[in-house]
Subunit: 378 residues, 2 copies
């Protein structure tokens, strides 16, 4: 039996979104699900208990970062990533592919893999399908990602075509290198840029192999959201319906709802934790920058409709004071709130699917939340 399986519960009659459960060695993920990001074996500022309190079912961690520091062998010696970081629920690790292209310097890509310099100390390092798989086997994540090439957003058709074909060959090498298929599941990553036919071709190639789940990569890289939704519209229907579908790097509230409507089961993004660190909050009334002077004497909660720990106990005035004073507890409070906001949103999405009213939910949510432009959205 595969390490990770998808259980379909129902399809929303109104939207086509699906409600399900992903079964993993460390427990069940109710889908559609948002996964908080714990890049360096910690979801920035949060404890595992707090993540459980807000009912995160799964977190994501980064192969690239952990490979560089503290090193995957150290984490293997510690008994794996779950034990190392005291998190006993599911973990998904990405392959490092995206970070190699976005963070490191002096990359040299060949068919074999990618040579790059560490963004920490300039060390020359190498990641390949085999190495990324070995690292993730050492980490012991429930869901591993195949090592892919992320073409630059401005890459032309020819480049993207060659790149996605390489990504397919690399995915096959990851499958072969995978040493723990019985307790870790390896997902493939669909590429193809903003070219509909290349997206379809990538799906065709990858689904010819038997992966237990499929991710869609290379989106949310600067393109307008309608373009991203168009790529989902051509891609998702071709993915097998009995496997989880994961849209990588997407975490703005509107895109989570639109993604679920298009049949996505899993999402991750650093957005809620990153914006929290400079005092930007997601609320039922849209974006709120709590640093702003107008909140100095506002003794109400970040979001009057929110029931999270932060909103039950602290005022905008207090949180603003903490953030202005560079106090860590301030970013703990905004981080907690933002993660809770997205996890609560996904609970509402699941409820709306259950009740066949996800399109109604979307319209109502968007009307309350505001326009998702640069002013009020993310």
């Amino acid at each position: 039996m595969a390490a990770v399986t998808y259980e379909h519960i129902k399809t929303c009659k109104q939207s086509g979104a699906r409600l399900g459960r992903v079964h993993t060695p460390h427990g069940i993920i109710e889908t559609p699900a948002f996964m908080p990001v714990g890049t360096q074996a910690t979801v920035k500022t949060m404890s595992p208990e707090e993540l459980k309190q807000m009912d995160a079912h799964i977190i994501l961690s980064n192969t690239y970062h952990l490979f560089l520091r503290p090193g995957h062998e150290l984490i293997r010696e510690a008994g794996g990533l779950h034990k190392f970081m005291n998190w006993d629920r599911p973990i998904l690790t990405d392959s490092g592919g995206f970070q190699v292209f976005s963070l490191s310097n002096m990359r040299k890509i060949s068919e074999d893999g990618v040579e790059f310099r560490s963004h920490l100390n300039g060390d020359k390092l190498f990641l390949s399908p085999e190495k990324a798989t070995e690292v993730q086997n050492a980490l012991g994540s429930d869901i591993m990602m195949a090592f892919d090439e992320c073409p630059p957003p401005d890459a032309d058709y020819e480049y993207v075509k060659n790149s996605l074909e390489r990504t397919t060959r690399w995915a096959e090498r990851c499958l072969k290198a995978h040493a723990r298929p019985h307790d870790q599941a390896l997902f493939a990553i669909v590429q193809g840029g903003m070219f509909a036919d290349l997206r379809k071709e990538s799906v065709r190639q990858l689904t010819s192999m038997d992966f237990p789940g499929y991710a869609i990569g290379g989106l949310s890289v600067g393109e307008p959201k309608p373009v991203m939704y168009e790529m989902l519209d051509v891609t998702v229907p071709l993915l097998p319906s009995d496997k989880p579908r994961y849209l990588m790097g997407v975490g703005s509230p509107d895109a989570l709802v639109e993604g679920a409507i298009r049949g996505i089961d899993m999402f991750d993004c650093v957005l809620p934790t990153r914006i929290a660190r400079n005092g930007t909050c997601m609320t039922s009334e849209g974006r709120l920058v709590v640093r702003n002077a107008k909140y100095a004497r506002d003794f109400g909660p970040l979001d009057p409709k929110c029931s999270c720990y932060t909103c039950r106990n602290y005022s905008r005035a207090y949180i603003r004071h903490l953030i202005k004073a560079d106090e860590v507890f301030g970013i703990r409070l905004t981080t907690y709130h933002n993660l809770h906001f997205l996890l609560e949103l996904m609970r509402q999405v699941r409820q709306a699917i259950m009740e066949d009213r996800l399109l109604d939910f979307r319209d109502q949510f968007f009307a309350e939340y505001g326009l998702f432009d640069n002013e009020r959205g993310f």
Copy 2:
């Protein structure tokens, strides 16, 4: 009835230390007690729930910092400091006297008060006995401190003599300015530098007025610990036995035990939280610098004898990784551990007093903890 009263439970037959309870409007402090410091209305990196989990009975906050930012009027509008920071147990606020002398620039001291420039933005500000009292009345702390002058550590006899006499006159002005004597207690601060006769003179002057508690200030400012203990030996016996006695700015484990032996009831210090932020931990085996490379693959807890949240769940290797990677959760874990260490030490001190064996406890603790020199102590 006074806002704060001291209940004497018993005196240790072996050491002379005293076990007691300080009753305040927000609850009871079991003494001898260590008070974690929450300078800017937050104990750095900790939540109120975590402070309760480690059973902190009282925390300290800083008048100087809150006067500068966010301002005492804002905190008054918020409903007081307890409500502002979501802490419903007792709070002690210092008077700002020490910070004016240690943090600000361009001080001008007169009989009226101290003119100084904010260390944040250079604004010209003024604190006086009346102003420091007004600020603390706005904050609503259970225990307020009288505004004192802290002479520089190298001040000569004449300077210290004049200074302590001014501190007495200022204490009298604080008493007069105090607007809420029924729900806030104002403690006086004994000064006198390292001069035994001046310490005695300061006590004599201050105890001629009726303060509900007395602090000893101007110690732990760089002098050798035996000198500090000598000053306690000449000072404490002259303080009224029916009032709490508070030794300001002392938090090294050995000095807490020695202070309790000399009849001190309350202590505060930034030491445990400050050293935690660069990865230095207090353990039953002495000081442990968890950043050090030798702990990279050490999968044991910070302190094998400790039962705190950090030690029950995380390894030295993980904490070292977090601190090297600048992850906030790392300093949350070391801060939690260090505060727990001192609070647990005080529980053991109280138990030893109850059982008339505090000198035995001291000898055993010092033998296990190691020498309190610069190598292993603080």
